[in-house]
């Protein structure tokens, strides 16, 4: 056998290996589409944004390199400081409520009842409707004159005067927080429901026989087992909420008197609305370190939870 093999090798010319049979070339070829897409739509705009924030470019004015001047300027900008505080407050409060309400809903939906599938589908509605449309509906409900909420409260005898939901700075913030919670709860509910369904009912039964009351069963069995899913859902939600734009833009446009600006809306107002492109870019970029820290902390925590 060996002899014939050698003879055969001599007789036929060794075929040149094709490029793609080499694993390094193959890996490169397979990576290319992703790398191009990521580079074109994420890396390039990001670096372009960084460059933009270091210039004095405005709409119609090419501008020149000014170093960190834009960042110094926004640092001393009181509206920017309000924006930072708003974004953290908005993200923090909504996340706590979305988690609590979402978990509660998920626990309810995890039970057996008639029409379960239908209810589960309906729960998703706020999440499915385009944000702009549902936010317009909310805006109308918060309207100073036509507010259905005011009407209801008035009819029930809770108030005697109209509440100016979106006109008062504190109430405006509360209003957008309510809408964000309404919109975000379904995502938590459905994701946590999926998480709950991976937990074997036998574990709860075993705990019940072991003598655990319902609250203890939740606290010692369900909650620890749901924690990895909860953390991932929170991570997604925090990133989305932190960078939220549509909701505030439609409801208040950042007002009244810049009281409800978030990073994204303030960056838009300065960059596009006012035409100060470079300053807008600087505000957008200011979001980056905050988000980066939040995400790193959460990812580290998720890793710890998952390896437990």
């Amino acid at each position: 056998m060996a002899v014939t093999a050698v003879a055969g090798a001599e007789a036929r010319p060794i075929p040149r290996p094709r490029r793609l049979e080499d694993e390094r070339w193959l890996a490169l070829a397979l990576l290319m589409p992703t790398a191009i897409l990521l580079g074109l739509f994420i890396a390039y705009p990001f670096f372009e944004g960084v460059l933009l924030s270091l210039t004095s470019q405005r709409v119609g004015v090419p501008g020149e390199f000014v170093g960190l001047k834009n960042f110094v300027k926004i640092w001393n900008d009181s509206i920017f400081r309000t924006t930072v505080w708003n974004t953290f407050w908005y993200t923090g409060v909504t996340t706590v409520f979305k988690l609590a309400l979402g978990l509660w809903l998920a626990m309810l939906l995890n039970r057996h009842f008639k029409g379960k599938a239908l209810v589960r589908a309906f729960i998703l509605l706020p999440f499915i409707i385009p944000t702009v449309l549902s936010t317009f509906a909310w805006k109308w409900m918060f309207d100073p004159t036509f507010s259905v909420i005011n009407w209801t409260l008035y009819q029930l005898g809770f108030i005697t005067q109209r509440i100016n939901w979106l006109g008062d700075p504190d109430l405006a913030m509360t209003s957008i927080i309510i809408v964000n919670i309404w919109r975000g709860v379904p995502f938590f509910a459905i994701s946590l429901l999926a998480g709950l369904q991976t937990i074997s009912p036998e574990l709860n039964e075993a705990a019940a026989i072991d003598g655990a009351r319902p609250w203890n069963r939740f606290w010692y069995v369900t909650w620890p087992l749901l924690l990895p899913v909860t953390m991932v859902v929170m991570l997604f939600s925090v990133i989305q909420t932190f960078a939220d734009f549509q909701l505030v833009y439609v409801m208040t446009g950042g007002g009244p008197a810049n009281a409800t600006h978030l990073f994204a809306t303030y960056a838009y107002q300065l960059g596009i609305g006012t035409g100060l492109l470079s300053e807008g870019a600087a505000i957008s970029l200011a979001m980056f370190p905050f988000l980066f820290i939040i995400v790193v902390v959460q990812l580290l925590y998720i890793r710890r939870v998952e390896t437990r």
């Binding site: 574990l203 039964e205 026989i209 072991d210 003598g211 203890n216």
Partner: protein
Amino acid sequence: MAEVTVRKLNKKFDLTHVVKDVDLQIHDKEFVVFVGPSGCGKTTTLRMIAGLEAVTSGEILIDNTIVNEVPPMDRDIAMVFQNYALYPHMSVAGNMAFGLKMRKFEKAEIEKRIKRAADILGIGELLHRKPRQLSGGQRQRVALGRAIVRDPKVFLFDEPLSNLDAKLRVQMRVELKKLHERLAVTSIYVTHDQVEAMTLGDRVVVMKDGWVQQVGEPLELYNTPANRFVAGFIGSPAMNFADVTLSGGDGKLWAEAPGLKIGLPAPIAQRVNGRNGAKATMGIRPEDLHIAGPADPGELCFDVEVEVVEQLGSEILLDTRAGNSTFVASVEPTLRTKVHDRLKLAINPNRLHLFDAQTEAVI
């Protein structure tokens, strides 16, 4: 230590009636096994005793107290689940301690009990591991440990060995038996494996379609099955059945089928009296058939053709045919025979069973 009583117990899920009028008295320290094919209601009955499933009608009593409305945590029972149901985020020690912590035991007492259970089960080395780091057999032990530390009135087992491989299952079966001797706690054990039922149970409850078919000691079920189902379910290889017609003449009763005419022994003949011409099912276990010798009376013998020869070493199982009836016979390993050989088999007349063709009850 406790007695468990079940009276007229019924369970309906929407329209399906899964447990029907179950009556049972389980004595203190007794090991009772529920056995039956899947869907027979055995697990549902167990879960009702555990309190995990609501009772549709009837009563469950533990120590003469009705517990129908008592939640599982207050019934003082411990359960071993089919999939072990260990808490994956707790260590082995944590799993065993959980029930005691929930019941507010002192820390020292918890540690003492865990150590005792770990010694009994030989899992002292594993106490700090997580369930996912354990093999199936080890998990099974931890699940047992979690039940043992509780020192409950009643142990409930829901097919606890069905996820283990065959060899481990036999080993764990023996250990469970020893454990029960040592702890002497009233136990209810659910399985679909009749060998487990026979070897473990002080008494065995055979169920089918929600009905209790027969309750009795293992050998009682084996020797005097109440109906055709129990006869076929208990014993391996299973009992042979042949559809026969009963006929009488010259003071003798016969069970007849094509290629088969067996003279019924006197005790059965007396019971059958007056059923001349009736259809019936004759049952005979493979171990109650043998190769006919000169001492066997002709009325107990019949001719068969060998269809399959199964050499098991300690015995030979012959799959044979007589007319349109088939018989498996367990014969001496020294027999030399091959497929298509014609043989004469003889029946042990004291071990012949006859069942009503309609009701399937023993005659």
